[in-house]
Symmetry: C2
Subunit: 282 residues, 2 copies
């Protein structure tokens, strides 16, 4: 059997592979693997992006923490990146009137619609508009338009690097309504600490509330993955458990039970180990 | 450069290796690796046990959650397994009068004293007695002797299998004082769900309070690792944050700040994702 390994600084994930197909787009190299352990796996420029078996963790955690924190009807959501569609699928569960998704690589979206129909299921929803553009350019000049901006980007190399900059976060803030919320995936505090720190320090230059949180993602480097929430008026830790329980209960009545996110996870994900806190404060 | 890979059901960790030495003991095969990413790494029968870089996570989480829950002076602690010494090192920070460690494989202990002196640092402490015996036999017939029993065993194959049984947990209960606490490592709910479930269901047959909790361990299968706390009178989630903050503050005055465990982690570690809860309840 073939094996695929993604190494980073001397360590990484190895998976047994039944078959693989390689594509080259103008932006990146796509590898589509059929794996023993995780079902189909999407790899971009050598980095695992999503798998059938554990994608729900990343997509639930990047969407539901900020949208349950928002605490009111969601009108308009912007997803930057997120070509596989999982983030749009989860965002639609909050009944927004409109979701804009800006993905630079059309071929990723086309491939995911074909190969990952369960993940991409929301992309053909009539409330969803997909813009095949550079997210950095798309957001410039937008004013007070979105309730939530979700930055579902790849590592800060290549086309995603600008999505970690202070200037970009300023444009995100302008694009948000005054009580809006933003979240970005923020790499692994264990395996990619420098990138994690850049996100937090740049967000702190722009937003008054900045809160990193963690989730177990078995197919990402080290398995310890982070997201960072930011806002000028909302705070995920200021939502009362009673209120969150009510929001969750009415959500579940319509959309069913989620697979990762729940009330305890909402708060527990913000527990950050001392070694991460201490390294951030250095 | 050489590489070492630990595969489990089609997925696993790969590390770049500078050098390796293999030993064969009467109980298992030991591999000692010098790795790029994690420093020295101890592998038993092909399974990564401990590494210089991330050992603090496992050892702090298996010790401090139960001992801060105990909430009183710790007199006597029993560690079953734990041949590398890291669990004993952390337990000694709670100033017990005595720590018994029962490890079946003398050669693991000898090797760790030589190769992992920072992990094994407590093993020569005068309060520590090491018994090179089968933990299952050692505990039989003990009555009300220990404040805490910490089961720091390897996977439930080979010599450790009996340490996951109801009969063993009954003997552990007998060996505990009436307000005593027990904790066991309980495998990965993501990668080894069946073993995780066996621990919880067997502990529930013996103890009235049984609470699994999670930690990020980058070198263990899937990175999502679990421990399970059990007791007949103590509950980690019933400790008030005020009380725990006081305990932690006086601990830190004497022993310094820990690297993983803190107040938020104490509670947050008990947040279990829905897919784990739902699979347990099936």
């Amino acid at each position: 059997m073939l094996r695929f390994t993604e190494m980073m600084n001397g360590a990484g994930l190895t998976v047994d592979v039944n078959s693989s197909i390689k594509y080259k787009t103008p932006f990146q190299e796509i590898l589509l693997l059929e794996t023993e352990a995780f079902g189909k796996m999407l790899v971009l420029d050598g980095a695992v992006q999503t798998t059938e078996k554990d994608e729900f963790i990343y997509h639930e955690m990047i969407v539901h923490v900020p949208l349950f924190t928002l605490g009111r009807d969601v009108e308009k959501v912007l997803v930057i990146g997120g070509g596989d569609g999982g983030t749009v699928r989860e965002a639609l569960k909050h009944n927004p009137s409109k979701v804009d998704m800006v993905e630079i690589d059309r071929e990723v979206v086309e491939l995911c619609k074909k190969e990952f129909p369960e993940i991409a299921s929301g992309l053909d929803d009539e409330r969803v508009s997909i813009f095949f553009e550079d997210g950095r350019e798309f957001i410039k000049g937008k004013k007070g338009e979105y309730d939530a901006v979700i930055i579902d980007c790849s590592d800060p190399v290549g086309p995603s690097a600008v999505l970690f900059s202070e200037e970009f976060y300023k444009d995100v803030k302008n694009a948000l309504k005054s009580d809006g919320v933003v979240v970005t995936q923020s790499e692994s505090p264990f395996a990619q600490f420098d990138a994690f720190k850049v996100v937090i320090s740049n967000l702190k230059k722009v937003f008054s509330v900045v809160r990193p949180y963690l989730a177990f993602i078995p197919t990402y480097p080290s398995g310890m993955w982070s997201f960072t929430f930011a806002s000028d008026s909302k705070d995920p830790l200021s939502v009362s458990p009673q209120e969150l329980a009510e929001r969750l209960s009415s959500f579940e009545k319509n959309k069913g039970r989620l697979k990762y996110y729940n009330l305890e996870i909402h708060y527990g994900a913000f527990a950050i180990p001392n070694f991460v806190i201490d390294k951030l404060n250095k």
